[in-house]
């Protein structure tokens, strides 16, 4: 299955892209499995302050990821 990954703020610069697609072999995977896979490529993602949204809603590591999902990794927000 294929999922979409988005990076925001400083993470987009650290990782070097704003948007990427990731092919996962096999069936559904947990968010934590996907996160570990991405950390192996981009060690900067191994940071407890980074939040992850799945389909635009904050998610925890036990969420199941499905084909076509949109995952967003972002640092603490600083608007206002």
């Amino acid at each position: 299955m294929t999922i979409k990954i988005l990076y925001f703020g400083r993470l987009a610069e650290t990782v070097g892209v704003r948007q990427a697609e990731l092919d996962l072999t096999g069936g559904d995977a947990l968010l934590e499995t996907v996160r570990q896979q991405l950390i192996s490529r981009h060690p900067a993602l191994d940071d407890p302050t980074i939040r992850i949204a799945v389909n635009q809603t904050l998610a925890n590591e036990n969420l199941t990821i499905n084909d076509g999902d949109e995952l967003a990794f972002f640092p603490p927000v600083s608007g206002g």
Partner: protein, 155 residues
């Protein structure tokens, strides 16, 4: 009313809209946030957002404020893109029958927006570029609404 936009906003126009849409209103509180200059001299500030999620998070904050206080539909405008020092970044306007609810809801909206809305600031000076972090003071301000859900600023 909620808008994430590149364009500037006019406070008088937004105030007039609040007056027009208000019901039995005795108080309107507005807040405008501006881009601060830095010691190094700000070249510009870049505001990035997550289209879709930013709007839905702010709408959740607006809905929570409407449940908590006796207020009309608030106005929230947040600008994105490239901004200069002293440019307006954010507008929050709240109308209510009484000032205490309007003050409290306006502060709540700003405190929650600063700590929850998916927006990121980058300061660009002539010598440096720096993404800004959430400030501990902002996180503390936002947390007090959990400890004191009925807190108002008028007491």
């Amino acid at each position: 009313m909620l808008s994430i936009q590149k364009e500037d906003f006019d406070v008088a126009t937004e105030y007039a809209a609040l007056v027009k849409n208000a019901s039995n209103t005795g108080a309107i509180v507005t807040f405008v946030g501006l881009v601060r200059d830095t010691e190094q001299g700000l070249k510009h500030m870049l505001l990035e957002h997550y289209p879709g999620m930013t709007e839905s998070v702010i709408q959740e904050i607006i809905d929570a404020a409407k449940q908590r206080w006796d207020i009309d539909d608030p106005s929230v405008i947040h600008r994105v893109g490239e901004l200069q020092a002293t440019d307006q970044i954010v507008f929050v306007g709240v109308s209510s029958t009484h000032r205490s609810d309007a003050y409290a809801a306006c502060e709540y909206l700003m405190d929650q927006l600063k700590t929850r809305a998916t927006l990121w600031k980058k300061e660009v000076t002539s010598t440096d570029e720096q993404w800004l972090d959430s400030k501990p003071s902002d996180i503390k301000r936002a947390a007090r609404w959990i400890e004191n859900p009925k807190s108002t600023t008028s007491s």
